[in-house]
């Protein structure tokens, strides 16, 4: 899993320009021919993302195939990334002519302005040493005939999609002014079977649903996973041995351990942003409180809440200094904030209905939560508890999780009667809502940070 950013200047100037002197790459049989689909609404074309050409078509170990095939697949993944966040209207390689290798650094702007493209993404693919592939990525303003940003990465063949996500992140960040988020992963619970006996398995996937992998077999119920900030381990709840307790699963080693030796039920695991602490909730004689323990596995747990009732969940502010959590100490579920050491606990939500599963935005400016008033809906409010705003309106939407840049929220939706679940995402306008593709039913999404 190595992704190396390249010193671009050298690469850019050396590689494609040098290639310009060579013969232009021959058109691939079965590849793009430059024909344009008539169905494409050209007036909507915001960003053109044609196939990334290669200097020489050579086989790779990548699932997408040779460097030429990879060039088209990369452009498709970038197009899907940018399309699915709702901000852009990208047009992908299937409907666009393919540039030559040399045009990557010297675009034929006339072609693209003639098609109404405001922005142009070019890139290239080359075989690198050791079976790796090198991917370059360039964003041009077609009207200004100017390069806006560029990037390049050398990736192992199995990581080729990461290069596409990095390129999409580059384009997204440059055009929106926001932090990147596409090159990230999601942990969730895969669900199958009848409503009264659902099989629930821990699973992981990339932020676009690719590279799906099951972690547990489903013999024990698995719930509420959370990726560690370094993606090396997963906290989750398992009914292994019959009782609900939190385990830390080491993804590389495939081993797991209990996060606390206490035999009481533990649930709702959370990481601190620096990965040094684990928050968990533990029930003792029917009362539930929030604790923290060092993630390294040593040390005694520290109890952070002690109000009678159910104090559960918890989500750190981005700087790690505060924790937002849920408590029914006042009678029904509402949202509270405390310092990371448990001091200065105060209620921030005074809403009708119940307010649950608060999650602090990685930007710090909003708290996403589940509002329960009849239906369950995902909403956001300010860290002070004001400006509550619904983002979804369905029968049962719950458990929001933030994209690493705090612009998109994923949650899960349960269908009335059937109990079938699916993961959805919505942007902060509430308008761009879409279902994530998963192999089976899915719940409890947990979005990890952008990968280094």
């Amino acid at each position: 899993m190595k992704l190396i950013a390249l010193p671009l200047l050298a690469l850019v100037l050396a590689a494609p320009l040098a290639a310009q002197n060579a013969a232009p790459p021959a058109a691939e049989p079965g590849g793009l021919t430059g024909s344009v689909s008539d169905e494409t609404p050209w007036q909507d074309l915001g960003i053109a993302i044609p196939t990334f050409p290669t200097d020489a078509d050579v086989p790779t170990q990548a699932s997408a195939g040779s460097t030429a095939a990879l060039g088209k697949a990369l452009a498709q993944v970038i197009t899907a990334d940018l399309k699915n966040n709702g901000l852009f209207k990208p047009t992908g390689p299937d409907a666009l002519p393919q540039p030559s290798f040399g045009q990557v650094v010297a675009p034929d702007f006339g072609i693209w302005s003639g098609r109404g493209a405001e922005m142009l993404v070019h890139g290239y693919v080359r075989a690198a040493a050791g079976g790796n592939v090198t991917v370059g990525c360039y964003l041009y303003d077609v009207g200004l005939k100017q390069q806006l940003v560029k990037g390049g990465w050398e990736v192992a063949p199995g990581d080729w999609r990461r290069a596409a996500h990095k390129c999409a992140d580059l384009v997204y960040s440059r055009l929106s002014g926001e932090s990147p988020f596409f090159d990230s992963k999601i942990a969730y619970i895969a669900e199958t079977g009848p409503k009264d006996h659902r099989m629930k398995r821990l699973a992981i996937m990339d932020s676009d649903g690719a590279n799906h992998r099951y972690i547990t077999t489903g013999q024990s119920i698995a719930l509420t996973p959370r990726y560690s900030p370094d993606y090396k381990s997963l906290l989750y709840l398992s009914y292994f041995n019959g009782a609900p307790r939190i385990y830390a699963y080491d993804i590389e080693k495939g081993t797991q351990r209990l996060i606390t030796a206490n035999r009481n039920p533990t649930f709702a695991p959370r990481w601190s942003p620096d990965g040094k602490w684990v928050l968990y909730s533990m029930a003792t004689a029917g009362n539930t409180d929030i604790y923290r323990i060092a993630s390294s596995g040593g040390g005694a747990p520290q109890r952070l809440t002690n109000a009678p009732g159910i104090n559960v969940g918890g989500s750190y502010s981005p700087d790690g200094s505060k924790i937002v959590f849920e408590s029914d100490r006042s009678g029904s579920q509402q949202v509270y904030v405390m310092n990371a050491d448990g001091t200065d606990q105060r209620r921030i939500s005074f809403l009708g209905g119940r307010a649950a599963t608060p999650e602090w935005s990685p930007r710090g400016d909003q708290i996403a939560f589940t509002h329960i008033a009849g239906n369950l809906r995902v909403a956001v409010m300010s860290p002070g508890g004001g400006n509550m705003r619904y983002l979804t309106d369905s029968w049962q939407d719950e458990a929001p999780t933030w994209s690493p840049n705090g612009r998109i929220i994923q949650f899960f939706r349960t269908e009335k009667n059937s109990g079938k679940t699916s993961i959805w995402q919505v942007d902060l306008t509430g308008r761009n809502e879409r279902r994530l593709p998963t192999p089976v039913d899915a719940s409890d999404p947990a979005w990890g940070p952008v990968r280094p």
Binding site: K276, A283, I310, P452
Partner: protein
């Protein structure tokens, strides 16, 4: 990009991890050894001859889970209002019947399973199920059942018995079920 880690890489130290695993393992073993010995089936009736056994209906073995379920006739489960965990008069009667049975079989241990309906968030419902199981346990203990004989487990909203999404189904799912450990 470099391999430099800027955020919270906290590799588990192998020694600590091993210790934790050992701890987990020994706890699991302790759990096994504490398990009540399985109730022995009643000794076979003295065999008088090779005659066919009398056609007496067998019925559940006294003191077994099957016996408990048969004797309780539904009183093995108590029900709760939305978000509530109080033990009302009907629950008291049911738990009273359970306590009587438990007094009769003092070697038996039980698990109280707490459940919630689907109309709540997952974590809260786990806590709520635990609260309901404990409320039932506390009442059994108040009737003289040794607390050490009563284990609790919450399933939150994970194991409904009624599958509809309506008030009648939710009322059936907000429950605490007593299951004896055979």
């Amino acid at each position: 990009m470099t391999d430099r880690k800027t955020i919270g890489a906290v590799p588990l130290r192998p020694a600590l991890q091993a210790a934790a695993l050992l701890m987990a393992g020994s706890l699991a073993l302790a759990g096994c050894s504490k398990k009540a010995p399985a109730e022995l089936p009643p000794p076979p009736a003295p065999t008088t001859a090779s005659e066919a056994p009398p056609p007496v209906s067998q019925g559940p073995v006294p003191g077994s889970q099957a016996d408990f379920a048969a004797q309780m006739m539904g009183k093995d489960t108590i029900y709760f209002d939305t978000d509530k965990f109080n033990i009302d008069a009907e629950d008291q009667a049911a738990l009273g019947a359970q306590a009587q049975w438990l007094m009769r079989y003092p070697a038996k241990r039980v698990t109280l399973e707490g459940h919630a309906d689907e109309r709540g968030t997952r974590d809260y419902n786990l806590a709520l199920g635990e609260r309901r199981a404990n409320a039932a346990k506390n009442f059994l203990v108040s009737l003289g059942v040794d607390a050490a004989r009563v284990n609790t487990v919450s399933y939150g909203k994970e194991r409904p018995v009624a599958l509809g999404s309506d008030e009648a189904s939710w009322a059936k799912n907000r429950r605490a079920v007593t299951v004896t450990i055979d």
